[in-house]
Amino acid sequence: MLQEILQSLPQVLVDGLTLGAVYAVVALGYTMVYGILQLINFAHGEVFMSGAFIGTAFFILIMGMGWASAIPQFILLIIVLILTASITGLVGVGLERVAYRPLRNAPRLIPLITAIGISFILQDVVRFIAELFNGNYIVTGPSLFSEQITLKASAISSIFYDARFKTSFLIVLGVAIILMVALDYFVNKTKWGTAMRAVALDRETASLMSINVNKVISITFFIGSALGGATGVLFAVQYGTIDPYIGFILGLKAFIAAVLGGIGNIRGAMVGGMLLGLMEMFASANLSLLTGGVFGAEYKDVFAFAILILVLIFKPEGLLGKPTAEKV
Amino acid sequence: MTILEVTNITKQFGGLTANKDITMNVEEGKITAVIGPNGAGKTTFFNMITGVYQPTSGDIKLDGKSLVGLRPDEVAKKGISRTFQNIRLFGEMSVIENVLVGMHTHLKTNLIGILLNLPFTKKEEASAEKEAYRLLEYFELDHLLNEKANNLSYGAQRKLEIARALATKPKLILLDEPAAGMNPKETKELTEVIKRMGQEFNVTVLLIEHDMKLVMEISEHIVVLDHGEKIAEGNPEQIRTNPKVIEAYLGSAAVH
């Protein structure tokens, strides 16, 4: 049994990291907004989904233009990432204006309602548009970065099987890591990043420091949503097929990842996302083996949730979260 | 007679020792004050007595029975009540409801009684309400009874916290900087209330305060903490003139 688990381990790791990278970047969007407004932006999953659609639309559009086929795929990806991120960033800013800003002094859970409302609206708007242009709302984009690469894990030790992945895996992982590192630097080392943390801690006092709080919040939403949109593009590249409902489950998982890592904490979101991806992949590949077929892959979420709950019971502020022990 | 007996308690937060080997007694019926510089560990000391924190070592006894290991609500039931340095009212609840919550330890009704609205429950509730109202009258808060606690001014909130603490009918009440944010006149009036309260409610008072006028006027016994350690203990006169205390805490205020 152990042998079988080990054999597939390299492949499971590769697959887990792919999924984990997606979770992690989406989780960043949750964590940023949460960190600054203590608000769970449940519409973030839908921003991610919109990004996937916008990106796919760009790919189809650009590749439909004859001359564009000369552009190297990688450059194309970067162009689409930037375009999409800008658009979803603006969507995020608009979202905050319309649905959250007017409710800043309302009871804490009220924005949850607007978030759910906006989610439904975004889902259907995207669906209508996709159907209008495509006749079908399940969209499959052009296939990019699909060369197969074999990771010769068996060369390391004969215990392992080789792992296979597409080039897109490297792209997803690479872009995700770059985004995370850049964001981490921005938030921790730059003036506006520090201002963001200051606003998160005490909005009134921050405004007394000549910080334009609304602007900081808009920037936060822009960055968070741009990240979400960019991940949408990566997702579309990696998995090929998208529909307007991918945001809900994935958004939820990403949020769980953010909590697992310690919500409000950027590195926590990364760790949580990667971990959740790995755990899920491991569970769906091995649960049957481990339980002799009694519990199968369908229990992978139970497994992931059980670990999440355990972590939170023993470390209620998440893996990397700082205990916010109230001073009494 | 000693009501509270603290022996060798120490509290560490990671590397930081907030309280170190403190031993002291509180005499029944007397007003005792704990003073010391900011960060000396006064509030931490209160938190250990009330079960918010567990001491790293040492023992705390109320009427000879150890409190160590008890949860805050259990400590409250044993007869210790407190106010907080940063006010902790039930902000969205009304003033009288705040006081009523204080009386809960003495309400005997249960789920069945509540669901069936048994006569016993009704009677108990009615008399609790009246008693709460009388407490509000005592603190001159009666005209605010239906106001949300959050909407009260700072001073009124402080008084309400004391009223709420008294509602539990404690043997020992712990006040953490009750005069913070009050002007000298208000402080003086508060001083009177604390003095009278001790006698009229038959409760022993242990308080933390930076206002030396108040402290010196009402305390019969003062304990001084610095860097988590007890550096002095005695009556107001002894403390006022203790050079260690002057240097660490009083400064030229000792002159006043």
Binding site: I40, T114, E131, L132, E298, Y299 | D73, H104, Y138, N146
Partner: protein, 431 residues
């Protein structure tokens, strides 16, 4: 002008006359029309108006009960749409009861729970498993399915099972706070659903994703209940019990403890309130209301499967609570009614109507934008509009107003003439 109007309407007699007129007109309209969602809704809204009227509480209750038990069922029985009104009303009742349960947890005790539908599922499965032959798969004794009379007993069993589930979930969860708690409860909700969804192996308890069909309908005095109007009365009775219980709790020691815990845990504890016990009680009681209605739901649907208990369902119930006004019993009732009626009736009718317009060519809409598929979209837009329009909820929570006179007047005589009383002195101190 506005002032005059206000005084005009605050005249009590006039109010009563206008109100009666309103009820008579709407119920007549409902009774004599084939199908009029509008008059049905107007008649229902009379309950809301009643809430805001300037009458004694007892009077309000009597009128409300009259409306609910007699007038509404009678007036809607005039046309063929009778059962559909009753179906909607039954679902409204079920959701109100659940929302009131969740309101205890979220609104009063301040514990954000995103997995609340799990308790509904526990109730529904408790009945379904025993009211079908499903139970014989694992019960060595007994004769299954149980008869329809067992339904009544199962109302209690369902409530207790859900309460137990509430405590079981609560115990490990209570270490976790705030939004972390939300995620943990969400996790538990999903775990329970997944277990029901896979509960056909190794032993077939829940029949897994296939669901449990042909659940025995309830029976009373030899009469089988299967039509919505019958379930309407069952639901209404339970709902009345729920509302009564919730109101009792709200202004009692229990309700105050929950609110105190919500407002400030540390202070609540310092006042002698045991946190764990108080929170668990909130979980258990809230869950039990949901569990009871789960039993009713299973019996009404005659078929249940795990798709009725998804996360979205938990969100919906939470939306009802928050939209109505967290902690506010009338608010939550209104919130649940509005959301349920919107979802099950108004939006369906509205999109049907728009669709007929487009099919008959009055409107030309591209197929992608067919109104028939716009329900979620409109629902979303309405949620946003509601929240922006009433950011504190439709009927925000209010504290009980204490009457100074009552607190003073009944004071024993000897206290009034300034004699000192031993427990608490009453004379004022200059502070």
């Amino acid at each position: 002008m506005k002032g005059k109007l206000a005084t005009f309407f605050s005249n009590k007699q006039l109010q009563v006359i206008l109100y009666s007129l309103f009820i008579i007109v709407t119920s007549a309209a409902l009774y004599f029309s084939q199908k009029s969602v509008v008059s049905f809704l107007l008649l229902l809204s009379s309950l809301l108006i009643l809430h805001f009227m300037n009458l004694k509480n007892v009077t309000k209750w009597i009128v409300a009960l009259g409306l609910l038990f007699i007038l509404i069922p009678f007036a809607s029985s005039g046309g063929p749409a009778f059962q559909s009104y009753m179906e909607v009303a039954t679902m409204v009742g079920i959701y109100i009861s659940m929302a009131l349960g969740l309101n205890i947890v979220v609104g009063m005790a301040g514990l954000l729970d995103l997995g609340f539908v799990a308790f509904f599922a526990v109730g529904a499965y408790s009945y379904s498993i025993f009211a079908t032959s499903q139970a014989s798969n694992f019960m060595p004794f007994g004769n299954f399915p149980l008869g329809g009379e067992s339904f009544w007993g199962f109302l209690i069993v369902g409530g207790i099972m859900a309460a137990i589930a509430g405590v079981l979930i609560g115990v490990p969860v209570l270490r976790v706070k705030g939004d972390y708690l939300a995620i943990v409860t969400l996790g538990f909700g999903e775990i329970i659903r997944i277990i029901f969804n896979n509960g056909d192996r190794p032993i077939n308890i829940t029949n897994g994703a296939m669901g449990i069909a042909s659940v025995t309908p309830p029976e009373i005095f030899g009469m089988t209940l299967s039509f919505p109007n019958q379930f309407y009365f069952v639901t209404l009775l339970i709902l009345m019990f729920t509302i009564f219980a919730v109101l009792r709790m709200e202004h009692s020691k229990l309700g105050r403890s929950w609110k105190a815990v919500r407002e400030n845990e540390i202070a609540a504890q310092a006042m002698g309130i045991p946190l764990v016990k108080t929170k668990l009680l909130a979980f258990a009681l809230g869950a039990s209301f949901s569990g009871i209605m789960g039993v009713v739901f299973a019996a009404k649907q005659a078929f249940i499967d795990p798709t009725s208990f998804t996360l979205m369902e938990s969100f919906t119930i939470l939306v009802m609570v928050v939209l109505g006004g967290m902690g506010s019993v009338p608010g939550v009732i209104l919130g649940a009614a509005v959301v349920t009626i919107l979802n099950l009736q108004v939006l369906t009718e509205l999109t049907n109507w728009l669709n007929q317009l487009s099919l008959s060519g009055v409107l030309t809409i591209p197929d992608a934008l067919s109104p028939a598929k716009m329900q979620k979209f409109i629902f979303g837009a309405l949620l946003v509009a509601f929240a922006l329009y009433r950011p504190k909820g439709l009927i925000p929570a209010k504290n009980k107003i204490f009457d100074v006179k009552k607190l003073k007047d009944h004071r024993p005589d000897h206290l009034n003439n300034d004699t000192k009383e031993n427990s608490i002195p009453i004379d004022k101190v200059q502070v």
